[in-house]
Symmetry: C2
Subunit: 123 residues, 2 copies
């Protein structure tokens, strides 16, 4: 008797469907660093238009990563599911820091500093 093949969806793909869209990861990171409001997310992202940000936040809410609450205006916060991305973000940062062996992006001091910051913020 042949064993039945169960065609399982790859969990890596499922995860990527949550974060694959442009800006999503940066917004999540911003939220880990305390940002909550629409206009805060636009800071430092000159190419992020209102429409794109709006759509992005909507999709993130549909995917259960963030919640939208009214509190002296609108506030976004990470859900449990969104918070569970902390380790993904951490490993993304570590990937860059450990593979930048020629100090193309950072000198050794910056790397140390950045590691500390991401450890404290994400772990």
């Amino acid at each position: 008797m042949e064993s039945e093949e169960k065609a399982l969806i790859c969990p890596i793909e499922v995860a990527m469907e949550h974060i694959n869209r442009k800006w999503v990861i940066q917004i999540i990171r911003d939220m880990f660093f305390g940002k909550k409001r629409f206009n805060e997310f636009k800071e430092g992202k000159p190419n992020l238009s209102n429409k794109v940000l709006s759509n992005c936040l909507k999709e993130m809410e549909e995917n259960g990563l963030i919640s939208r609450e009214t509190n002296e205006g609108i506030e976004y916060r990470l859900t449990e599911k969104g918070l569970a991305l902390n380790k993904v973000l951490y490993e993304l940062a570590m990937f860059t820091l450990t593979t930048d062996i020629n100090n193309r992006y950072y000198d050794e001091n910056d790397k140390k500093e950045l590691k500390k910051v991401f450890e404290q913020t994400l772990l």
Copy 2:
């Protein structure tokens, strides 16, 4: 005296620029599972056309994630940098498995199995 602000690129963004293109992560995963050849990468991806795969592999090579070698045909393999993505992939999988609390994608048994597989393959 004011402290000079050094505008560092966020390492999370740098990492995302490597992997946020469609198919990249799935190809990397395939390579961790032993696939090496053009046509192997197409298996199970009916929507992946030759052109897109070709471009994708090219970009991954430019980004230093994979190398292209001739060995009874063409073989692709992960570089040190590509291999360093193992923890990112692992955390992506764990994210899905641990946040699927309603067993929408997997039952408890599948989760156990998948965790074992990814641990053994990626760590």
